[in-house]
């Protein structure tokens, strides 16, 4: 039902019976963005853009939908990197705060790559949280990926090191490294992450090729702090926005993409192995309006 007519209806229905874009209508529109966690700053920017165009390209409520789709879509679509032959093994480091969905996303990614006929190695570099290793091991079993793991409490860089070796010797196409949840405010844990990054790069030049920050879609304005702080310690190449099957819209990502210039690669839409989708800017904007 992600059709433009449904979106038009929804935007027109913001203020029932409205045929003009007046102050009341604009207040309602502003509230849609604030409720979607877009945040005050970005919402004001969007509203300014709308106000500048009212009476010009925006004459009736029906004009708002294609306009916002295009304008916000443009704000959050970054030019794609030139496709290069992926390195082998292609190393992806998965990071983020506690409980954001890293391990689940790692499992879903493994499933996706294996479905493309690729050979996948998983590294259980969360050696801290209770049963984190067992959790990833179950995902390995579920997807048919090979897993490299150590004991609970082991050094995560040592796991990353062994996994790198294993990925090389097994001629794996993809190495996915699941890390422990850590708050962006804890500098020792941020250092640990840079160390993992360095260790991987030693045996595989250019690795990690991707570092994906997993952001919980139900998070509000703190998501920006998370992205900023993680970026201080590691080179983030993409975001994964999870739990978008909830009623949260994840609107904070708009300001994050604009400020940091890093794209969203995937969205998580459930707990199942298939519940991972490529990010699509226009559908994302539609979802803010509930279609």
């Amino acid at each position: 039902s992600r059709t433009s007519s449904a979106l038009t209806q929804r935007i027109e229905a913001l203020v029932p019976g409205k045929t003009t874009i007046d102050d009341e209508y604009l207040d309602e529109l502003e509230e849609v963005f604030l409720s979607a966690d877009v945040g005050v700053k970005t919402t004001m920017e969007i509203m300014d853009l709308v106000r500048e165009n009212v009476g010009r390209s925006l004459k009736v409520p029906g004009d708002i939908q294609p306009f916002l789709r295009r304008e916000i879509g443009r704000m959050i679509s970054l030019p794609a990197k030139a496709e290069t032959e992926p390195a082998k093994p292609h190393v992806i480091l998965v990071i983020g705060v506690n409980g954001s969905g890293k391990t689940t996303t790692t499992g879903k990614l493994a499933h996706k790559f294996i479905g493309q006929g690729k050979k996948v190695v998983l590294a259980a570099a969360d050696t801290f949280r209770a049963a984190a290793i067992e959790q990833l091991a179950m995902w390995a079993e579920r997807t048919g990926a090979h897993i490299v793991k150590h004991q609970h409490g082991a050094d995560p860089s040592a796991v990353a090191y062994d996994a790198t070796k294993a990925a090389l010797s097994r001629h794996a196409d993809v190495l996915l490294i699941d890390t422990a949840g850590r708050l962006h405010t804890k500098s020792n844990l941020m250092d640990e992450l840079s160390k993992i990054e360095r260790v991987i790069g030693r045996d595989i030049p250019g690795a990690p090729h991707e570092t994906w920050l997993v952001l919980d879609g139900t998070t509000g304005q703190n998501a920006l702090n998370q992205a900023r702080q993680f970026l201080q310690s590691v080179k983030i190449t993409g975001f994964v926005l999870t739990k978008l099957d909830s009623t949260s819209k994840g609107g904070a990502i708009i300001g994050i993409i604009r400020e940091l210039g890093v794209p969203v690669r995937y969205i998580g839409i459930g707990e199942g192995v298939e519940d991972l989708q490529e990010f699509d800017a226009e559908s994302f904007v539609d979802a803010i309006f509930g279609v």
């Binding site: 604030l34 979607a36 959790q135 579920r142 708050l183 702090n225 739990k243 909830s246 009623t247 949260s248």
Partner: protein, 306 residues
């Protein structure tokens, strides 16, 4: 933890200081700043609107006191409203007169239920009580191993019979077992679920019916945005929550979710989680947090000096 909200408020009040009297105009300006600060802190927009209206009404209706500048008086009004919203006193866990006291944890995926269950167990064990954890999450990979590992770590009993038995059955069995073992506190750890997942919400209703918990605690991540309060409301409608636990308060999240949930549900926030370790659980002190939001330590000296 609420420091950014606090900074924003302080800025507002600095701007108000030195004004001759509270006029409609400068109140308007201050209220706009307060609105932005609260929204930046993830306070739900409905709560923000209510709050602003209340503060405005109080501020305009009040005689300017001789002893205070209008700015100081405004601070007092905002603080009073905020403290009232946050609730007045710390509410303890309600312990049943006929043990075991049964505590049920619920909430969205990844909010911190299992970890918090472990922390509660550790804290009550330390008080000399006999605690048992029950693992009723049969869905998340290795949830059973996680609760077992935590029970072992804190040294309490655990009943986590695996994934071939229904969560409702697990909780009913756990209650029986706890009675037999003279357990003081039984903590039921349930799987994370979305409030819009009807089947899984119904499962919680059935757990409630079969295990008859004394406390039903909604575990919320302090970093949650605008939807926090809608989620909490849905859980409350189905289960009639007895309280809330706010986790990950060791982050730099401004924690507006606390204010929203408290304001719209009227249910007490009983504990806050401040770390991943088993001792990182503190009682929640609403007055302290409200003061912290406003930086009332400083503000009070300011007012006293007037």
């Amino acid at each position: 933890m609420f420091s950014q909200l606090q900074n924003s408020f302080q800025k507002v009040f600095k701007d108000l200081r030195g004004q001759g009297k509270i006029s409609e105009a400068n109140i308007q300006e201050a209220l706009r700043e307060v609105r932005v600060a609260l929204l930046d802190a993830d306070v739900n927009i409905k709560v923000v609107r209510q709050f602003i209206a209340q503060v405005k009404e109080k501020a305009l209706g009040q005689e300017v006191l001789q002893s205070l500048t209008p700015g100081q008086q405004f601070i007092k009004i905002v603080d009073a409203e905020l403290t009232e919203l946050m609730g007045q006193t710390h509410t303890k866990l309600h312990l049943s007169s006929t043990p075991p006291t049964v505590v049920m944890m619920c909430g969205l995926q990844g909010s911190g239920k299992t970890t918090t269950a472990g922390k509660l167990a550790a804290s009550f064990k330390k008080q000399g009580r006999k605690v048992m954890l029950a693992g009723a999450d049969i869905y998340r990979p290795a949830a059973v191993e996680q609760i077992r590992a935590l029970a072992e770590q804190v040294g309490v009993d655990v009943y986590a019979p695996g994934t071939d038995i229904s969560p409702v059955e697990i909780c009913a069995q756990a209650r029986k077992l706890a009675m037999g073992k003279q357990i003081d506190l039984l903590i039921l750890d349930t799987a994370g679920r979305l409030h819009i997942d009807d089947a899984l919400m119904e499962e919680l209703v059935q757990i409630k019916a079969s295990a008859r918990p004394d406390e039903i605690l909604f575990v919320a991540d302090a970093m949650t945005g605008q939807e926090a309060v809608n989620v909490a409301q849905s859980f409350d409608e189905r289960l009639d929550l007895s309280g809330v636990i706010l986790t990950k308060m060791d982050s730099d999240a401004r924690g507006g979710a606390a204010l929203s949930i408290r304001a719209l549900l009227g249910k007490p926030i009983k504990y806050i989680g401040g770390g991943e370790k088993m001792d990182a659980l503190e009682p929640f002190h609403p007055d302290r947090v409200a003061s912290r939001i406003l930086g009332m330590g400083d503000m009070l000296t300011l007012i006293e000096k007037a």
